[in-house]
Amino acid sequence: AKKQLVIVVKGLDNPFFEAINQGCQKWNKENPDSEYECFYTGPASTSDEAGEAQIVQDVLGKAETAAIAISPSNAKLIAQTLKTANPKVPVMTLDADLAAEDSALRKTYLGTDNYLMGARIGEYIKKAKPKGGKICTIEGNPGADNILRRAQGMRDTLTGQKGLAELKGEGGWTEVAGCPVFTNDNGATGVQAMTDILAANPDLDAFGIMGGWPLFGAPQPYRDLFKPMAEKISKNEFVIGAADTIGDEVAIAKEGLVTALVGQRPFEMGYKAPSVMMDLIAGKPVEDPVFTGLDECTKDTVDTCIQK
Amino acid sequence: MAVLELANISKHFGAIQAVNDVSFSLAAGEVVGLMGDNGAGKSTLVKMIAGNFRPSHGTMQLDGQDLILHKPVEARQRGIEIVHQDLALCNNLTAAANVFLGREIRRGFGPLRILDYKTMYRRAGEIFRELKSETRPRDLVKQMSGGQRQAVAIARTMLAEAKLVLMDEPTAAISVRQVAEVLALIRQLRDRGIAVILISHRMPDVFSVADRVIVMRRGRKVADKPIAASSPEEVTGLITGAIEQV
């Protein structure tokens, strides 16, 4: 059997990680003669943090494993796992990183700068509404670190201050009661909650959507919700900054139902990861971190914004 | 001709030999009292006839044809009705629903036939009246007294024309008045040519209604004789083992 370059993602139930898998498979297809193969795995559900740690252990215990790239859903937990496992093979992080103080446990990070991603969403919102207003943040799983980082990036950008957990007028922005909303990575839940929030706060000015679930998971109700507001959105009277460019999201942007999308490049992550891991195995110097880019789409740039 | 004919029937549960090499035959319109100590195997024996268990050994014949039953409903289709010792009632249903369970009366045509509540309540009421039992057809069985439950179970056997009715202690928990009714009912069945096996621990009942008595002890048949040729004392002796065999 070939030696394996293993990618462990947070959960299989997320199309985002499937894009990483596609990249991984493409690498396999292009490198049939390599002594390595890219192997993709993860727990069934994104919320199964302990399950991911167990899989990491399993992988590290396997003789075939030559290197491992992990997308930690609970950074501290994976750090602890790595500490106890004391792996002999190179370890890197992918898509999500370990905490700064644990960075010695991995050789490099390949992926999106989540804080930057949130900051970019924040910039779009701020640009559209410089004076601020009422905002609601839509988040994913309550424990998901990358989402929390994005939210922080957005809040920091909106206010110009660092580390606020909740906006109470800083920089003109106020988070309304009942927010942030946790969608548990479920499109229907997300869009139902947004509907309720909008009904309860008719004077809301902006949504900051930190994970694209309501758009790509429930595009139709999302359209139903914002079609009546398309006019306001085009005039920047109502602003929606959303993460990801998955599924129907770009089409929604094209219809003018979202102010801006800031997307990651999961395919690129999956495609690049094997090469980076081979470099690590070979002992070559590797940059830390290796950021994959962001795709930013507005109504006007939809046709060109996605890097292929 | 024999309605029912058992030949060398045995049944064991693991190490327990519940019924051991029992043979007898039953003519139409004959009432047989089946007696024996607790655990003698009476219920097990009638459960085999009713299709609840399959015999470990031996053969059964009904009206001269092999009786091989895979499930209880087959027994009923062959004309064998049984009142179970544990009554087999659904507590969450009404008395009428229990009486008609498995043979609901419906009205309407084809696939659109719906339950005919009215007729079932009426018929159930009639049967209870016939049994002189104060049982309300529309009430849930859950809240009924032991005797009312018994009445519901017995009412079931009166729905169809059976060839053979098996009664596993139908008079155990019912009052004098109803015992008399049940015994009268058994006589009615006999007069209509239906064979009855009556399991009972109540000597007077068996002696007043049965034509023959079969006594079992520890799974074996130890006596099988006409009532007229026996006496309560003898049967008691056979049950307890004071008399070995006749």
């Binding site: 229907a188 309860a200 595009p219 | -």
Partner: protein, 332 residues
């Protein structure tokens, strides 16, 4: 004497009126109505047509599955696989239509999948005597895994030539401005209620839940009915999946995750008894409605997200409290 016997036989222990008051469904309905009245006064946004439209539509997915689940629960079983089956059926529909087939083919494939899954569950439970909990827990895992396989774990959001028909089916409002899913729910609820009350099948479902052994002894085809019940349960999940797909306009492999507990909660809140033998179609709808009203109100009232779980959990418990208190007082 004969007269009194006749009178007794004609008597019914509890009047119709008393039974209604004794039913949990009634008290939960009261709770739903009270909550709605409260919300209408407490917030300006509850009693708006748009919000009511949304609420009624949101109820339907849980409610439709809860109808099937209620049948399962009445027989004394449980079906944990419904959330995953919803996902699988949605995915089969999506993938089929995405591949260019029409909506008819898609729905047929989806329903067929549901029936196969349900038959699998049912046969294992009824003929091999597996505990329903184990079989459907296994299916929970299997069905979602198959959905991943079917879709290659991608988001499907283009449904081929009949794309718009599908969206209209789930997202439209063809009658009096009532959301289509609500219409389907109403029809299915009436149908379920009719079957339970007026057909022999319904009677057998109750009998099995009351005393399975007795049902077998009296010739009820217990096994066949059980298989049918699990097929109906899976079918209800499939139907909900089809409608939900039409509403959402996209399918991901995590839709319906964790839904099984919500559905069971709806059925149980509505008065179905997990010990078997008790349950109504109307109860399933009322239970689902209570859960949705609470969810909706948390957003409208602006409750802190961290505390929302406490409110939802508290409400689930409270829903049954009415009923318990009444029972306790009565048993004194």
């Amino acid at each position: 004497m004969a007269i009194t016997l006749d009178q007794t036989i004609a008597q019914k222990q509890r009047s119709w009126f008393a039974s209604v008051f004794a039913s949990q469904t009634f008290w939960v309905l009261v709770a739903v109505v009270l909550a709605c009245i409260f919300l209408s006064f407490a917030t300006s946004s509850f009693a708006t047509p748009a919000n009511l439209y949304n609420i009624t539509r949101n109820v339907t997915f849980i409610a439709i599955i809860a109808l099937g689940m209620t049948l399962v629960i009445i027989t004394g079983g449980i079906d944990l696989s419904v959330g995953s089956v919803l996902c699988l059926c949605s995915m089969v529909l999506a993938v089929t239509m995405h591949a260019g087939y029409g909506i008819g083919t898609g729905i047929a494939a989806s329903i067929g999948t549901a029936l196969v899954v349900g038959a699998f569950n049912g046969i294992l439970i009824a003929y091999l005597g597996f505990p329903p909990f184990v079989v459907t827990l296994g299916m929970l895992s299997i069905a979602r895994s198959l959905a991943m396989v079917a879709s290659n774990n991608t988001v499907v959001f283009q449904f081929g030539p009949d794309h718009d028909k599908l969206l209209a089916l789930g997202g439209g409002a063809w009658l009096f401005g009532i959301a289509n899913p609500v219409l389907y729910m109403a029809v299915l609820a009436l149908l379920t209620g009719f079957v339970l009350r007026w057909t022999r099948f319904g009677r057998y479902v109750f009998a099995i839940g009351g005393n399975e052994h007795a049902a077998t002894l009296t010739g009820v085809p217990v096994r066949k009915i059980k298989v049918a019940i699990y097929m109906i349960s899976a079918l209800s999940a499939g139907v909900a999946g089809i409608i939900q797909t039409g509403w959402l306009g996209a399918v991901t492999t995590n839709i319906g995750a964790g839904m099984e507990l919500q559905v069971i909660a709806a059925a149980v809140i509505g008065g179905a008894n997990l010990a078997g033998g008790v349950g109504t179609a109307f109860g399933a709808i009322v239970g689902a409605a209570l859960i949705e009203v609470i969810r909706n109100s948390l957003g409208l009232l602006g409750i802190n997200a961290f505390w929302q779980g406490t409110f939802i959990g508290g409400a689930i418990v409270l829903a049954v409290l009415f009923d318990r208190l009444r029972n306790l007082r009565q048993s004194e």
